[in-house]
Amino acid sequence: MKGDANVFGEQLERMALESRRRQGSSHPTAQRLAGYHERTLDAAELDEIQEHLAVCPECTQELLGLAKFEEVVAAKAAAGAAGVPTATATAASWQTLRARLSPQLAIGQAPPEPKISEPRTAKTPSRSLWWIPTPRTAVALTAALFVCMIGLQLWIYFHRAQPAKDLILVQPSAFEVTRGSEDPRHPISLFLGDATAVLSLPVPARPAFAAYRIEIRTLRGELRLAVTPGLVPMASRTDVSASVEEMEPARLVSFGLPQGSLPAGDYRLRLVGRQGAREEILAEHRLRIRTP
């Protein structure tokens, strides 16, 4: 190839500029450069920094400066040589330095506290600081707390949407309204006398189902009665102190239980929601039927 002597150098310059543009404007930190010099980095990092040095005169000069300093410091220069002070000069320098440091040296002979309070060995943490979490532990604890709070919020959201699963029992003959709960230890006692009793169950607003079924089963699970009543809207509350959730229009399913429809005994009353093939038990009450 013909060409002047500058062609080769110019081409290398262009390639170096291109390489530096690819690497971006980031130079290795002084710590990484020291790690490169001392060969304490892993092979991939050494290779990365070497590639950078090949095209970055600034970092190269920085590294050469460090190497030069080490060379000078490592060499044992003879006293009296150019730039080497005599032992007397060193002793005098110490006296000056000692006088300048005397306030600090006088206070308990301790150097200033390190600005970076990092333990020098991770294996042997100080006993007096056991209660201070490490950064990793602090992050884990914060994350766990966050997850717990999210979980609690979700639990509150899904549970507050459901109205109390009360059973409302109306016995017209006695003009008695009974409210029961799901507690199996306290069954609702229903006297099936000469009139039809009306049972009503509030339907949870969420999740909504296409249809609802009321089942009455024996304690052993045998089905005795099943009805699919329509939904009846409940009157809205006017209590100004009620929260927004409480003021949501609730709905009821109601059905009549005529005299003689069930023999006396203990039963399970269930409210089942149906959505296609999916069925879900929404509420279950213990019912004790009494007959004349």
Binding site: G3, M15, L66, A77, T90, P114
Partner: protein, 228 residues
């Protein structure tokens, strides 16, 4: 003093006597005596370093004092992740650079007598129209040839093994001496010479003939005299 015989686990791990000394100072063990030892060890070396950096003798002592003051005040930040010398260099380097800036600023602030001859009032300006009539832009055929050469060179250089290519960049692009290339690459100087010799041979073979340009790669350039 019983404190002298006490050794923390980290001190026991430290083979380097300097690091051991520093560790004892950090732990507050006999600070004055240990710091005096550190001073005795490094004072002549720092003075010599500043001297070799071109600082006047009076300034060398001043800078060394300042360096030791900083070492004492900041020794707590040294975490033994690198050698003490490397950490010390970060202090010394900054002091040296600051001093150079200060002296440059002092020179700038001084009164300067312009060296250029002043044009006498009323004298005619030495107009020269000749440069304006000659274009420095390369001719079209020269530009095409230059681009072709550039593409061939780029391919040839990129084809070199990574370490060999980096040696070429450091030698030619940054103008380093063989010894400096060896320091930067962290390899032996003979390996550097071998890499550059092989690179020259490969490039000559691939580029055809002997480009004069490769002279700067293979020749013993300025500063390399005497390097065997």
């Amino acid at each position: 003093m019983t404190e002298h015989s006490q050794e923390s686990p980290i001190e026991a791990e430290l083979d380097d006597p300097v690091a051991r000394l520093v560790s004892q100072i950090q732990s507050g063990i006999d600070v004055e005596r240990n710091f005096e030892r550190l001073h005795q060890l490094y004072h002549p070396r720092l003075i010599r370093y500043f001297f070799l950096q071109g600082q006047p003798p009076a300034v060398c002592e001043e800078l060394t004092q300042e360096a030791f003051l900083r070492v004492f005040n900041e020794i707590g930040t040294f975490q033994h992740r690198s050698k003490f010398t490397t950490w010390l260099y970060s202090i010394v380097r900054n002091l040296n650079l600051n001093e150079r800036r200060k002296s440059r600023a002092a020179k700038r602030d001084g009164y300067e007598q312009p060296l250029e001859e002043e044009i006498a009032p009323g004298a005619e300006e030495p107009w020269n129209f000749a440069p304006a009539l000659v274009s420095n832009a390369p001719r079209a055929d020269e530009e095409i040839e230059r681009r072709e050469q550039s593409a061939i060179l780029q391919k040839a250089i990129s084809g070199l093994p990574p370490q060999m290519r980096r040696c070429v960049f450091l030698r030619v692009n940054q103008g380093l001496k063989y010894r400096e290339v060896a320091v930067v690459m962290g390899i032996n100087i003979d390996t550097v010479k071998a890499h550059l010799g092989q690179a020259t041979a490969r490039l000559r073979r691939e580029l055809g003939g002997g480009p004069e340009a490769l002279a700067q790669l293979a020749d013993v350039g300025p500063g390399n005299e005497g390097e065997s």
